[in-house]
């Protein structure tokens, strides 16, 4: 499951673990025919790969993949900013593709080595966070929305109002603690774009959340699905894939993309600067974008895939699942989350601190 709460808490410890895991891979490589050892270091979210993907890739290419895990984008960024410890392929979200790009931490992709990129659906071919897909290939996409317990809420809570601006579910509401998501979604609810939010709208969003605080049970770190499953909250902001995963365990849970629109994220495959084995990295990215490999991943992780060829291979309970693929009307009002510079990040962070303290 993506962004597991235990791992988030263990952030530092997890980083330490993957460090030691890598130590064995960076040194003492024996040269191979292609000039690179048959190894690859992948830095990925937890349970975010197909059950047999790495074994299949090894069978196809002879390259052994060593996967290390991160729990948050921040962790990934901090590791790479301190110097790439030997990762060949990383899986940052789109906002962090921008951050990494600005900080000159990404290697440009050699598109000629990724012929399978034709499998990518047209709407993911040319995103504004990476025009022309020069640095990133889409791995999944995900949409923020509301997860809820059907027996405890009235009808379908298809508006942000029910978590942001109403006391109907007082004491049973969970929202994000991440500053940028909260401010941007608040702006969406008030009818603004999530980009270049005017100062006075930020203040209005903050005032709204401060009013709403007595009704909110918890500001969570992306473990909303666990809180929902445990009965700690009945209505919670979360990513569609996270809720889709717990819906398999509890049929009383559901997910809706609010009618005011929402934020879309896209996790991407990138090659960080200083990757020791860029050739293998390209081969891996190309492999993952293949139809069979993409379908194997989608079958396991139940996130929406941007891979058209893989999608065609998927059964209808995935393709027509309204949680995994929200209806077009809802998606039409969604925007990509974007990184808008350090000043903004700090303004959002301080606004969130004000909300917490109020």
């Amino acid at each position: 499951m993506r962004r597991r709460s235990l791992l988030a808490g263990l952030g530092a410890a997890a980083a330490g673990l993957s460090f030691s895991g890598l130590a064995g891979c960076t040194g003492g490589e024996d040269a191979k025919a292609g000039g690179e050892a048959a190894r690859l270091n992948l830095y990925n979210w937890d349970t975010y790969i197909g059950a047999t993907t790495l074994a299949d890739f090894r069978a196809a290419t002879g390259i052994a993949v060593k996967m290390s895990l991160f729990a948050t984008d921040d962790e990934l960024f901090a590791r790479l900013a301190a110097g790439n410890p030997g990762f060949d392929v990383i899986v940052p979200s789109n906002a962090y593709v921008s951050r990494l790009r600005i900080s000159d931490l990404l290697e440009p992709l050699d598109l000629a080595k990724i012929p399978n990129r034709i499998n990518i659906l047209p709407k993911f071919q040319n995103p504004d966070f990476d025009p022309g897909r020069r640095y990133s290939m889409p791995y999944t996409w995900l949409v923020l929305g509301i997860g809820y317990r059907k027996s405890k809420v009235d009808g379908v809570p298809d508006s942000w109002k029910w978590v942001m601006d109403s006391d109907r579910y007082r004491g049973r509401i969970g929202v994000f603690s991440e500053a940028d998501d909260m401010i941007e979604l608040g702006a969406k609810y008030l009818g603004y774009s999530a980009r270049n939010i005017p100062r006075e709208v930020i203040d209005r969003v903050a005032a709204m959340y401060i009013r709403q605080k007595p009704n909110i049970k918890i500001f969570h770190h992306d473990e909303g699905q666990d809180l929902l499953l445990a009965g700690e909250v009945d209505i919670v902001m979360e990513y569609n894939g996270d809720i889709a995963q717990v819906m398999a365990e509890d049929p009383d849970l559901d997910f809706v993309t609010p009618r005011e629109g929402s934020l879309i994220d896209s996790d991407c495959l990138c090659i960080p600067k200083g990757a020791p084995r860029p050739d293998n990295a390209h081969r891996f990215i190309n492999y993952v974008l293949g139809a069979q490999a993409g379908a194997e991943i989608a079958r396991t992780i139940r996130y929406p895939t941007p891979n058209g060829a893989a999608l065609a291979l998927m059964p209808s309970d995935y393709r027509e699942n309204p949680v995994i693929f929200p209806p077009p009307a809802a998606l039409a009002r969604c925007e990509y989350a974007a990184f808008e510079g350090l000043e903004r990040a700090r303004l959002y962070d301080e606004t969130m601190t004000r909300i917490f303290v109020a």
């Binding site: 808490g9 918890i218 445990a230």
Partner: protein, 301 residues
């Protein structure tokens, strides 16, 4: 002590080098780097210049952040007081127990250290949750009780689970749970060394039980009390995991703000300045403690 002093000094030097080197390399040097950051500025996402700027401190001294430090202090003081109230009787019981019982009690106090803090905090969450063990037990008791009252024709209202997790009270409970051994152990060490005959003498000379406690036991245990307070208070102010996992919408403590500066907000100088405000506070506390200790020993000479 017939060995030449020079030789003893050589041995001392030999023994003291590794820990000192360790302390410098892995404690003072990293701390120095963070301290330097606190006088720096971000020029890009990943680059910080240390130019002696005091902007980060000016930012950290705003009422918003001072308020959070104040709140963290309040949490920590409350935690320390509770630890003292709970820990003192425990320490007394341990000090006056039979040697065998004493060993067992000591083991019980130490036992939680063998489990990771994160695991213990998650266990506490399982206890306090809406559908946790406390509420399950209470709900079972309530249902049994209402089954009995129904027999005599009385209908009791439906049981509503208590809100225990994600509150300020849960944070204080978690902190007390984690910090209690750090209070008990120094108290026990001080009480165990206590000369029993002095207590007997005070009782023989007509002091009441309470009088003997207040005027003989407590003053002699003072060094243990002060160490216990320092050992409990300082880590509590900087607690991160406990408020993060057990806290509610308003349970933000200063360490949580610092964490965000080093991660999502990417403002290391500001995070470093906030960290060092805590550090300066800690140094003041420790200085006050050693000053108090010196004052106590001075008249004896």
């Amino acid at each position: 002590m017939d060995r030449p002093i020079a030789e003893a000094r050589g041995l001392f030097g030999f023994l003291v080098v590794p820990p000192t080197a360790w302390l410098i390399a892995f404690f003072l040097a990293p701390l120095g780097i963070v301290w330097a950051y606190s006088f720096g500025e971000n020029i890009s996402l990943t680059k910080i210049v240390v130019d002696g700027s005091l902007d980060a401190y000016a930012h950290a001294l705003q009422p918003l952040y001072l308020g959070i430090i104040g709140k963290s202090l309040a949490f920590a003081v409350l935690t320390t007081l509770l630890c003292l109230c709970i820990g003192f009787p425990v320490a007394v019981a341990m000090a006056f127990a039979k040697p065998r019982t004493k060993a067992w009690l000591l083991l019980l106090v130490m036992l939680p250290f063998w489990t990771n803090l994160l695991i213990r905090t998650y266990a506490l969450m399982a206890v306090l949750r809406t559908e946790g063990y406390v509420n399950l037990t209470l709900g079972w008791g309530w249902r049994s009780l209402s089954a009995v009252t129904r027999l005599v024709g009385l209908r009791m209202p439906v049981f509503h689970p208590l809100v225990l997790l994600h509150t300020d009270a849960a944070v204080v409970l978690g902190l007390v749970y984690v910090q209690l051994p750090f209070m008990i152990l120094p108290l026990y060490a001080a009480l165990d060394r206590l000369d029993r005959s002095l207590i007997e003498a005070s009782l023989d000379l007509g002091a009441s039980q309470i009088g003997a406690f207040a005027r003989v036991v407590a003053p002699m245990a003072a060094p243990g009390i002060i160490s216990g307070i320092v050992l409990t208070l300082i880590p509590s102010v900087g607690a991160y995991l406990t408020p993060d996992l057990l806290g509610g919408p308003s349970s933000l403590m200063i360490a949580n703000v610092i964490e965000r500066q080093f991660r999502s907000a990417d403002d290391w100088p500001f995070g470093a300045a906030l960290s060092f405000l805590l550090m300066y506070l800690t140094l003041v506390c420790v200085a006050a403690q050693s000053l108090a200790a010196r004052r106590r020993t001075a008249p004896a000479r």
